[in-house]
């Protein structure tokens, strides 16, 4: 990726992270940790790869995106706001009375949201359905989905894994946000889904392991997925829960907790310092 574009994407991801912090702060609740861990992935998808147009959110030829780990709604809303689907100021209504920005994303109300998610394991199945329809319709669109690693504990995920490989859904690219933590703690202590890459391979998927915060690696993996024929691709993204905010990083306590004013200010200051360093 060109240096100029790389810097632009890094800046965009930093803005997304600031949006996440402010949305969760103003709500007084929500899920910052797992939103920050996949912010780089969504940024590369929405600002480099996905064929989407905010002024035509229902375009039948658009690429689809399904946030199967729906509790990370702040990252999706933040990207949709940066992309121009929804007004940025609306992020501050997150989880508030009668807001359309529910704690878990609803497709009925939010332009750009392709599937209602929040009950874990269900989004990936809908993504398979969308990819299947793309094949039947012979439309060229691609379907992207993000799974949480705790989410792999839902049996339904593996039903979808089997399906996507069986029907050779090579227009489906899923990411595993492999941050290693869930509400009750370390995923390997609560209920280990490891070894994840070997499991996906055994289920018949093309598996690519990357650093989920390295934008070049994310970009290259998506390119490889596009070129892969006859198999769906699972990009196992090694990530850090709470990435970009020092005190949230690798702390499962920040799975579903809002920062207070002081913590919010510290987070924003850290991200601003990062942006200053980028020089864009």
């Amino acid at each position: 990726m060109e240096q100029e574009l790389l810097l632009k994407l890094k800046r965009k991801a930093a803005d997304v992270r600031k949006n996440i912090i402010d949305a969760v702060f103003s709500a007084g609740s929500g899920h910052p940790g797992g939103s920050l861990s996949c912010a780089d992935i969504l940024t590369v998808l929405y600002f480099k790869h996905m064929n989407v147009n905010p002024s035509a959110p229902k375009d039948p030829d658009r690429d689809r995106f399904v946030l199967s780990k729906g509790h990370a709604s702040p990252v999706l809303y933040s990207v949709l706001a940066e992309k121009g689907y929804i007004p940025k100021k609306d992020l501050l209504t997150f989880r508030q009375a009668d807001s359309y920005l529910e704690g878990h994303p609803s497709l009925k109300d939010v332009p750009g949201v392709d599937m209602t998610t929040g009950s874990l394991g269900q989004g990936i199945c809908a993504a398979c359905g969308m990819a299947q329809m793309g094949k039947l319709d012979k439309r060229g669109y691609r379907v992207y989905a993000i799974l949480g690693d705790g989410e792999l504990q839902e049996g339904q995920v593996w039903e979808a894994m089997m399906y996507a490989a069986h029907y050779k859904l090579d227009n489906l690219t899923a990411f595993l946000d492999h941050n290693g933590l869930q509400i009750d703690g370390d995923i390997t202590k609560v209920m280990s889904p490891e070894p994840v890459a070997a499991k996906f391979e055994a289920f018949g998927w093309n598996v690519i392991i990357i650093d989920g915060h390295d934008m070049n690696q994310i970009d290259n993996a998506v390119e490889k997925a596009k070129k892969t024929k006859g198999k769906p691709t699972m990009i196992v993204a090694e990530t850090v829960k709470g990435k970009g905010v020092s005190y949230m990083e690798n702390q499962y306590g920040w799975h579903g907790k809002a920062p207070n004013q002081e913590q919010r200010d510290k987070a924003i200051a850290e991200i601003d310092a990062y942006i200053e360093n980028l020089g864009v």
Partner: protein
């Protein structure tokens, strides 16, 4: 004021603790005297507060990960081995995601699995519809062998959790999420599963409520007494199945006007159970079901949503007043209805 019978916490805690906190602590205390009790959860140990039992009895506790269907199957297996499993997750997952496992693995075999489901109704308001649950009473009560309980507050949750051990089969107890104000000051009252409790005496009108609606109904009754001179009976129907038919028939006979209030879809919930008893009695009665009117709730904090959907005292007062204005038909002419 006395506290929930506990070991190291006070009356103040009982008044300020969530129902789920009281549940977790009650269960941890019960574990000391009943070695058959085991706990299971699906990555919601702290969230459902069963963590208190986990800490006290780590060897008798199993976190299955985010896998509710598996959790119910494992609970069934533990029960088959002679244990009394308490399974805790959010109501939406307990009643729907794992619905068939509850029905076939647990209810059909009449196993003593106690499902303590938190975040019921619209109590997790701001999380959105995926985490609301206004269908669970309907689902659970339609399963043969299942007992369905909706306690009025934390103290009653403690009473229900203790009492459900003596029910030989499965029990579903639905509780909320937040800091609902307490209805009861102490455990010093007679609680029996299947036996409704009259919270406020009255002869003009009866409100039959469960869960958070009980306190609001009592407040409504007090206001209606002061402002309208109305004598309103409030019945706490904490057990929806088996329903207390006698309490309903008494209300028909004594007051002839009945309103049900619940944090649930009006289809399939407490209201429908009460309606069946009234219809079967052959007696006429002015009746209305109040709750969520077959819709998915908007989002917001629970207290705001309760006001918005008229589940607070003001909303209930409005319902009672409109029903007091309704007349019984004196003639046989149905054309003018």
């Amino acid at each position: 004021m006395t506290a929930v019978t506990g070991t190291n916490w006070t009356a103040y805690d009982a008044a300020t603790m969530t129902a789920r906190e009281i549940y977790g602590r009650t269960l941890a205390q019960m574990g000391k005297t009943n070695e058959k009790i085991v706990g299971v959860t699906a990555d919601l140990s702290k969230t459902t507060a069963i963590v208190h039992f986990e800490k006290a009895f780590p060897d008798r506790f199993f976190n299955v990960g985010i896998a509710e269907q598996n959790m119910m199957g494992i609970a069934a297996g533990l029960a088959k081995a002679g244990l009394i499993p308490f399974a805790s997750t959010m109501a939406v997952f307990a009643s729907m995601r794992a619905g068939e496992q509850v029905r076939t693995d647990i209810a059909y075999q009449n196993l003593p699995v106690k499902i303590i489901a938190t975040h019921a109704g619209i109590s997790f308001g701001h999380a959105g519809t995926t985490h609301h649950c206004t269908e669970d009473i309907a689902i659970m009560k339609s399963m043969a062998n299942m007992t369905v309980i909706c306690p009025a507050d934390g103290i009653e949750t403690s009473k229900a959790v203790r009492a459900c051990i003596d029910v030989p089969g499965p029990v579903y107890i639905r509780i909320g999420r937040g800091f609902e104000p307490p209805v009861y000051e102490s455990e010093g009252y007679n609680y029996k599963i299947g036996k409704a409790i009259t919270m406020h005496e009255g002869t003009d009108f009866t409100i039959i409520a469960c869960g958070i609606a009980v306190l609001q109904s009592i407040q409504a009754a007090k206001t209606l007494k002061e402002q309208d001179g109305l004598s309103v009976r409030v019945v706490n129907m904490h057990t929806i199945k088996p329903i207390d038919e006698e309490a309903i028939l008494d209300a028909v006979k004594d007051t002839r006007r009945i309103l049900t209030v619940e944090e649930h879809n009006i289809i399939g919930g407490l209201g429908d159970s009460v309606a069946s008893v009234i219809a079967g009695s052959g007696k006429g009665c002015i009746f209305k079901k109040h709750g969520l009117y077959d819709e998915y709730a908007t989002i917001g904090y629970a207290e705001d949503l309760y006001s918005h959907y008229g589940l607070d005292a003001n909303g209930i007062i409005g319902q009672v007043r409109s029903m007091m204005g309704m007349e019984f038909e004196a003639d046989e002419n149905w054309e003018d209805e």
